[in-house]
């Protein structure tokens, strides 16, 4: 299952955008997604993938890539406590 494809589809659907407008490099700001929209997208993603995304992580997601990264880790059952801590400002993000 291609997580990134699904994420882009869902964001486009929830935001009533043409599918081609949402790319892996899009930021929320570029797509006109505000915090209320973010909550809506989160709900749709949780419903689609049957998972729970912690609020702190959800609030920190500001781009399509970030969403895909967080989601992939949750789906693979990997520990995301570092993401949560980062979102709460408790640690610095790792250099990429």
């Amino acid at each position: 299952m291609d997580v990134s494809q699904k994420v882009m589809e869902i964001i486009a659907r929830e935001q009533h955008l043409d599918p081609g407008v949402v790319t892996i490099d899009s930021t929320f700001e570029q797509l006109g997604i505000d915090s209320l929209d973010g909550v809506n997208i989160l709900f749709a993603l949780e419903e689609e993938f049957k998972i729970d995304i912690p609020d702190a992580v959800a609030q920190s997601m500001k781009s399509v890539q970030q969403v895909v990264n967080s989601l992939t880790r949750v789906l693979e059952g990997k520990d995301i406590s570092d993401l949560v801590a980062m979102a709460k400002g408790e640690t610095q993000p790792a250099a990429n």
Binding site: Q15, H16, L36, V39, N40, L42, F43, E46
Partner: protein, 410 residues
Amino acid sequence: MVRRVVVTGVGVLAATGREPEAFINNLIAGRSGIRRIQQFDPSALSVQIAAEIPDYKGTDYFPAKRLDLIDRFTEFGLIAAKQAMESSGLEVADEERPRFGVMMGAGMGGAQTYELGYCSLFAKGATRVHPFTIPKSMHNAATSQICMEYGAQGPSLATSTACSSAGHAIGEAFRHIKFNLADVMLAGGSESPITFGIMRFWESVRVMATGNSDPSHACRPFSGDREGLVIGEGAAVLVLEELERAKRRGAKVYGEIVGYGLSSDAGHITQPTVDGPARAIRMALDEAGTNPEDIDYINAHGTGTRLNDATETQVVKKVFGEHARKLAISSTKSMHGHAMGATAALELAATLLAMDRGVIPPTANYTTPDPECDLDYVPNQAREAPIRAALSNSFAFGGLNAVLLVRKFQ
């Protein structure tokens, strides 16, 4: 300091019209908006009829994204508010915003949203609901969204008193301008109660007219063969404005609100008393300094139930004495249905539009006299007659009454 309050704008969305002209024209023509329910399949219900806005689609009025954030009852309120603002030509400067408020009645609030949410949780076992469920369903959603739309920062609230909700909202808006707490108000009500669940709830009360085979004739207020009320949906919003401000900008005046009476029956939770409503009418007359003999028309609560119509007849006789036989009474619910938290606003709009034209709308479907209802209900045919002053009555479940008195503007 006491000021005069006039109505300078009207917006209506109802079964008998999607804007004020169509609305009043259909009422005057005696055309009922009651039909078989279209918005879902009503075959499983005992009562399959309602007064729905014909061919209503939210997407005709709002972008899809906006619709995600608002319940249908809020859509109706926003549409009526827009019509009212546009018809009045009202402009509010930034510094005036703290004196510009919104007061809307809502009896059942975001009914569709509640229903979908509960269905998810209880029938489908979901552990969460859509994040907008609360902001969409709360009773004040229409008020708040209208405030946001027009930058209204003044005294604002939502009232919930069943069938009297919009009457109380308009009354409170009137008072705030009268007593110098606001200069302009948008006031009215909106309701979208036609859901499967709510129709079932109402079936259990056993006060609805059945009439599935002949919907347009189902609601027969004051008629000897009346069977009950018919649920309706819709919204009406009025622009209430302080008189001098309206005059300065040359606004069209539909009428002047001069009295607002309210009272509690403290009687029965569903059955009206005679004294409670009579007190509310007297309170409105006293405030306006109007003699009972100066009332030409009463837009009745007139739901079409056996009990309301007989009781309301006694109320009018009690307050008006001999004049009860001279004034005209009609129930426009016979055509636009009982729109719950919006109905008092629909009815005041009908009263003002009637007064503006000098035509009294009829009580439709009057077939048989009833000895308990022996006043002039303007049966079936509209009547050309000047209306100097009129009352709009709302006598709600729970015995909470709201009466508004309007006068032709001089």
